[in-house]
């Protein structure tokens, strides 16, 4: 009696579990089963991929676009059969659970098996496809040499080149796991004789869900006086690919050549000194690391491009080095996915024209340059390289602080460029985003804070551009300048009249000697000017919505003269200039020409959020 009652209760409980499992399973494809986020410099928000049993969603096209470079097939080509069958299969499996609940026979318990196995099947199939996609890369892909075939991570963080990814199982999968657990429990309740089978099932699932890791089998060699290796060269000679060489202090003679993929780590500040000849360190193997050294004393010949470190192997990591007394600093040539991070670079004391570039990146896609300090070199020049990330670097007393040519899809953010001839000059690049940079005091003969030449879809946003000879110079550029604070430059914005498709919105032009100058006769009226703050605006905001009731117009005769005779800018605030303007108003013989109109000028300046935060936090 007792047993029967319990049996009935457990039977009802099992039925409840089975129905609940069926509901969970049926509901599960509404949520993604597996998701991955890819972080790439050019996609600040990251790229998302969500996999359902029957479909893909998220930034599939973007991810396919990236994958194309390494030769991975489009994601939609994967698991086509599985996706087609997924919904009918889930319905059948759920039906199985319902049958198991409805049929009073013991053998009906077999109907729960598909539901119990389904999450395992999903994981296995997903892994199989990831492996298949990652290992079968098209050898003719543009970057096939840069990326070796790999197995994308199923769970947790992963990395391919510069792309960091995180993968996790998502709601739908957990619903299916819940369904499987419910089915297994129900089966247990019915088969009390075989509890261990269920336990085994659960354990197997747990194992599969664990991230897989293969620890590298690498040795560590130490370079120190009276050690096994007294010179770096001998350690390099002895090292196997993948080994780590730790250099304990000391002064070592260059030149050094890394021909194997090794990790070279300096502890207690070891010096590599080139002795004033040629290039000090050459990184020729891929996947090498150079960290923690003082690299100094290259030659000073321009004709041989003498440098501190020349990188020609892909995926190098050059980190936390001090590179000083060199002609060129770090010269990256055809070495995609290289990372230059937290290096401190300073050049030789030579006239700026005679110096080399402290950072030079040539024909190397997806290079990351972050948190470096560059003082007293020529340029940081990046060209013929796409998908770069240049962030949080500090450049002082250079020629072109940051110089980009043919760098499509790159991201330039949070850098600080000052006291150079030109701050950032961007040329011939598409979809380059330059934002949150601080660009000040660049006053060479051109003296552009930011210059844009033949740029397509440029996005220049939230920058502080102050105290330059010319804040922003535009020549034949297409794009948007938004929410920049452009202040105290001799000229705020200078543009050639050919500039026609630039959207200029939400910027604050504060007390520039001349707010906007058109170089050569023409008007800037084909450029969109809207919602900017102009410190010389004389209108008012009656309704208090932050937007002035009168348009801001610029059409002064004096500005035209100043365009022609730049020295007149010195007198911009003098009575003479006012006299000229007055004369222009008095004698319409020489009618002032309209230059630009902002129909909705802001009445208060807008300070970029990062700057406001810094000012709020700091002294």
């Amino acid at each position: 009696m007792d047993g029967r009652a319990r049996g009935t209760r457990s039977s009802w409980a099992a039925r409840l579990l089975l129905v609940g499992g069926a509901v969970c399973l049926l509901a599960s494809p509404a949520l993604p089963y597996w998701a991955m986020q890819v972080r790439a410099p050019q996609y600040p928000k990251g790229l998302h991929l969500r996999i359902y049993p029957h479909r893909l969603s998220g930034d599939v096209r973007e991810i396919d676009g990236l994958n194309h470079y390494i030769g991975m097939r489009p994601l939609v080509q994967g698991a086509t059969t599985e996706r087609r069958l997924a919904i009918p299969a889930l319905m059948l499996i759920s039906l199985g659970l319902l049958l198991a609940a409805a049929l009073p026979r013991r053998w009906a318990v077999a109907f729960t098996l598909p539901a119990i196995l389904f999450p395992l099947l999903f994981v296995g199939d997903l892994y199989w496809w990831l492996r298949d996609f990652g290992l079968n890369l098209d050898p003719h892909a543009p970057l096939n040499r840069a990326i070796k075939p790999f197995v994308p991570t199923l769970l947790g963080p992963g990395r391919v080149g510069q792309f960091a990814s995180v993968a996790w199982f998502a709601g739908g999968f957990y619903l299916s796991v819940a369904a499987a657990a419910a089915a297994a429990l129900a089966a247990l309740l019915r088969f009390r004789r075989a509890p261990r089978a269920g336990a085994r099932l659960t354990a197997a699932m747990g194992i599969i869900l664990l991230p897989v890791a293969w620890p590298a089998d690498a040795a560590t060699l130490v370079v120190e006086p009276s050690g096994a290796h007294e010179t770096i060269a001998s350690a390099l000679e002895a090292a196997a690919p993948g080994d780590t060489i730790v250099v304990q202090g000391g002064v070592h003679r260059g030149p050094l050549v890394l021909e194997k993929p090794v990790t070279l780590i300096g502890e207690r500040g070891p010096v590599i000194d080139g002795g004033g000849r040629g290039t000090v360190v050459r990184v020729e193997a891929p996947d090498a690391v150079v960290r923690g050294f003082i690299v100094r004393g290259s030659g000073d010949r321009l004709s041989t491009d003498d440098a501190g470190i020349v990188v020609t192997g892909a995926r190098a990591l050059v980190e936390a080095n001090r590179i000083e007394g060199v002609l060129f600093g770090i010269d990256v040539r055809h070495a995609p996915h290289t990372i230059l991070r937290r290096n401190v670079l300073s050049g030789m004391s030579l006239p700026v024209a005679r110096r080399g570039d402290l950072i030079r990146v040539w024909y190397s896609d997806h290079v990351i340059i972050e948190d470096n300090e560059l003082t007293g070199g020529r340029d940081a020049v990046l060209w013929f390289s796409q998908g770069l990330a240049v962030r949080r670097n500090v450049v002082r007393r250079a020629r072109y602080g940051l110089h980009f040519m043919y760098c499509h899809d790159s991201l330039v953010e949070d850098n600080d460029v000052s006291d150079s001839s030109v701050g950032a000059y961007l040329m011939y690049s598409q979809r380059l985003r330059l934002w949150r940079n601080r660009i000040t005091g660049n006053r060479g003969p051109s003296g552009y804070g930011i210059g844009l030449k033949d740029m397509d879809e440029a996005a220049v946003q939230d920058n502080l551009i102050a105290d330059n000879r010319v804040g922003v110079f535009l020549d034949n550029a297409v794009g948007a300048l938004e929410a920049n604070l452009i202040a105290y430059n001799d000229v705020g914005v200078a543009m050639l009249p050919s500039v026609q498709q630039v959207r200029f919105a939400g910027n604050s032009l504060v007390e520039n000697g001349e707010q906007v100058a058109i170089e050569g006769l023409g008007s800037a009226s084909t450029t969109t000017w809207r919602g900017n703050f102009w410190s010389d605006y004389r209108g008012y905001d009656a309704d208090g919505d932050g937007v002035g009731e009168l348009p801001y117009r610029s059409a002064q005769l004096f500005e035209q003269l100043a365009d022609r005779y730049p020295s007149l800018r010195l007198y911009a605030d003098s009575p003479a200039a006012r006299t000229l303007e007055f004369a222009a108003q008095l004698f319409p013989l020489f009618a002032p020409r309209p230059m630009l109109a902002d129909e909705a000028p802001r009445v208060a300046p807008l300070v970029p959020a990062w700057l406001a935060a810094r000012q709020g936090a700091g002294p």
Binding site: V381, R564, P566, L589
Partner: protein, 679 residues
């Protein structure tokens, strides 16, 4: 006091006066301000024009500076290349009026160039090494070079290279017509062409894209071994007005891509300088996953300025040290190194000009990606060569002079410096491609001294847009004129009315008479017939062109009396050849009937008997692709086969008189049976 200051002061005085009046008498009557004010000295209707056309004060000054009333002549003539039109343009300054398109490599029917007349080099061109080259009907003219005497333009000849096909044309400035086309037998492309040595001893042609000398096949895998560059020195015979290929020679160079050149003068006489790019020796192949050329050629930070001692090369050739390739004597690279003919010095990446200052002492090089110009001192170059002060050698053993030993100065000008010329006030002018501007800067250690002191940026003027070369009057001679500068802009974007997606180039005239930053843009000239790459500006009074040909019966190719000149009409039949001696004078041809039989070969000699200036006659026969321009005194020869029977009117192409339409005649080609009947 200069003009703009005068205007400024004038406006200022008026303004202050008006302010005073306004203060005393209250607000000025609105009506007064609406009236166009007539400034002192300007007629009232001028004020009306100024207002109607919304001109600014500087517009008015610019207009006055360039307007050339009818019958008044220009002060300068600019010879600009016509780019891939294959021609040369002669433009008057300051009016910027197009005076003449000189037919050079491309058939031009108005001038009767390439349409049946035998007295021109297109028809006379022989010795083509490939069938493709024989059929060329166009060229890419790049760099015109006026002939020089003692380093100054003498106004006698003009040379220009064909970059696309490695050819050179000689133009005689007595009649502004092309006289000779020379085909480089060893090389396909040139870019540093033409430049002349100070007394036009040689016309220099620098190659561009390296290739196996002589045009043999070699795969790109053998680029470093088999491909080469070349500097050709074409011997010029001034009296004959001809290049003498058999007395010319060339110097073999490494397979870098040589670019623009300049000849030394005065202290640097005897040398030619040429810069280069692709010292990486990149061979491209983007489709094979290699870096594209644009990236591959930009890998290094510097290229090599080539210093070539042509007098030593001349001696080496004379002493038999040259090898003959396809009829051209070539000094081998190894010999050039051994004999001290060739040296290098590092120069900023991808430069587009090496320009020798008026005294021959300084060489200015601008790398397009370096905002500085680099100035080398020729005396120090000689010193470094003498002391063997080398920093290394290139893979071919060419010594590289130590950069710091030969560098004089580096001056920061702005973005994308490209080409430099000089004036007579101590300024140099450099085009800034990336900045779309011209920079004016001061020379140091120069017979002319600018007020700002040596090696300083003095000012900039924006130009529109993407300036390539620039030309200053006499700007590459020992005696520059200054005064005017022309900016040869590659893009015009918004400067002119829209005439469709193919836009004209824009040549802009800049007044450089006043010092410092006071450079003034005066005038825009659209060029809708080609892309002028480079130009030279000569004082008009140095040109001594004929008004009419010296004698009636003039062969314009030989510049001598033609043996076929005719003063009376005459028809001579010799078997199946018919010779027709024809005269042309307003307003008839004589004979007016040319009667031949189907299958006859016709030789037509037409002499324009006119002695009146501008009384040019044309001659065209329907259906025969024949068009001649016969200037007063000129005799032309036209040959054709009368293949098909019929009646073919011929007529004068130039509107020569009131009865021009009547200046006509008939070519009557009888059927073949007529001959049988008459025989």
């Amino acid at each position: 006091m200069n003009r703009s200051k005068r205007i400024g002061v004038w406006l200022g005085i008026l303004a202050v006066g008006a302010l005073a009046v306004a203060l005393i008498r209250g607000p000025a009557p609105r009506k007064a301000a609406d009236q166009p004010a007539a400034p002192a000295g300007l007629p009232g209707d001028a004020a009306e024009v100024i207002r109607a056309r919304t001109l600014s004060p500087s517009d008015v000054t610019a207009a006055l500076a360039t307007y050339t009333p009818t019958g008044r002549y220009d002060e300068y003539v600019m010879f600009a290349s016509g780019g891939h039109s294959g021609q040369v343009l002669a433009i008057g300054l300051p009016s910027m009026r197009l005076l003449r398109v000189i037919a050079a490599f491309t058939p031009e029917s108005w001038q009767g160039y390439g349409y049946g007349v035998k007295e021109n080099p297109l028809t006379a061109l022989s010795s083509s090494r490939t069938p493709e080259k024989a059929a060329l009907t166009w060229a890419d003219t790049h760099h015109p070079a006026l002939s020089e005497t003692n380093g100054d333009y003498d106004g006698e000849y003009l040379f220009i290279g064909d970059k696309a096909n490695g050819r050179m044309v000689v133009i005689d400035l007595r009649d502004f017509e092309s006289k000779q086309i020379v085909d480089n037998p060893v090389f396909f492309n040139n870019h540093g062409a033409a430049f002349v040595t100070p007394n036009t001893e040689y016309v220099v042609e620098g190659s561009q894209y390296a290739m196996p000398l002589g045009g043999e096949y070699a795969p790109l895998a053998q680029y470093q071994e088999r491909y080469r560059g070349l500097m050709t020195f074409w011997k010029f015979d001034r009296a004959a007005g001809r290049i003498l290929p058999e007395q010319s020679f060339a110097v073999e160079l490494p397979p870098y891509w040589q670019d623009l050149a300049d000849a030394g003068k005065l202290v640097s006489d005897g040398w030619v300088f040429v810069n280069s790019f692709n010292t990486e020796m990149a061979t491209g192949g983007i489709e094979e996953g290699n870096p594209p050329f644009e990236a591959g050629t930009s890998q290094r930070d510097t290229d090599y300025l080539h210093l070539i001692n042509w007098k030593k090369a001349e001696q080496a050739v004379a002493s038999g040290k040259a090898e003959t390739i396809k009829g051209l004597r070539v000094v081998p690279l190894k010999t050039a190194v051994e004999e001290g003919i060739l040296y290098f010095v590092a120069e900023p990446k991808s430069p587009h000009g090496v320009d020798v200052c008026p005294e021959g002492k300084h060489l200015v090089v601008a790398g397009k990606l370096d905002p500085h110009v680099t100035i080398f001192n020729f005396e120090r170059i000689l010193g470094a060569i003498e002391q063997r002060d080398f920093e290394g050698q290139d893979p071919y053993g060419v010594p590289i002079l130590r950069f710091d030993a030969v560098k004089e100065a580096q001056v920061e000008l702005g973005l994308g410096p490209l080409h430099t010329q000089f004036d007579n006030k101590g300024y140099a002018y450099t085009s800034l491609f990336l900045e779309s501007a011209v920079a004016r800067w001061t020379m140091g250690d120069c017979k002319y001294q600018a007020p700002e002191g040596p090696w300083k940026l003095a000012g900039k003027v924006p130009v529109h847009y993407n300036i390539g070369h620039l030309a200053v009057a006499g700007g590459d001679t020992v005696q520059p004129d200054g005064k005017y500068l022309v900016s040869l802009n590659k893009w015009s974007v918004d400067r002119f009315l829209n005439v469709g997606p193919l836009l004209p180039q824009n040549l802009q005239l800049v007044d450089i008479t006043r010092p410092g930053e006071q450079m003034r843009l005066l005038y825009d000239m659209p060029i809708g017939i080609g892309e002028p790459h480079y130009a030279q500006i000569i004082k008009a009074d140095k040109l001594k062109a004929w008004e009419v040909y010296p004698e009636v019966g003039w062969d314009t190719l030989q510049q001598a009396k033609s043996p076929n000149a005719s003063y009376e009409s005459k028809v001579v039949r010799d078997g199946r050849t018919v010779e027709v001696h024809m005269t042309a004078i307003r307003s008839h041809f004589d004979p007016e009937h040319i009667v031949v039989t189907e299958g006859d070969h016709v030789r037509l000699f037409i002499t324009n008997l006119e002695r009146t200036r501008d009384a040019t006659h044309g001659f065209a026969i329907a259906g025969y692709n024949i068009a001649a321009s016969i200037e007063p005194g000129e005799t032309v020869t036209i040959e054709f086969d009368a293949k098909t029977q019929g009646v073919y009117p011929f007529y004068c192409l130039e509107f020569c008189s009131a009865l021009h339409l009547e200046m006509t005649g008939y070519l009557l080609v009888q059927p073949g049976e007529a001959r049988v009947a008459s025989e």
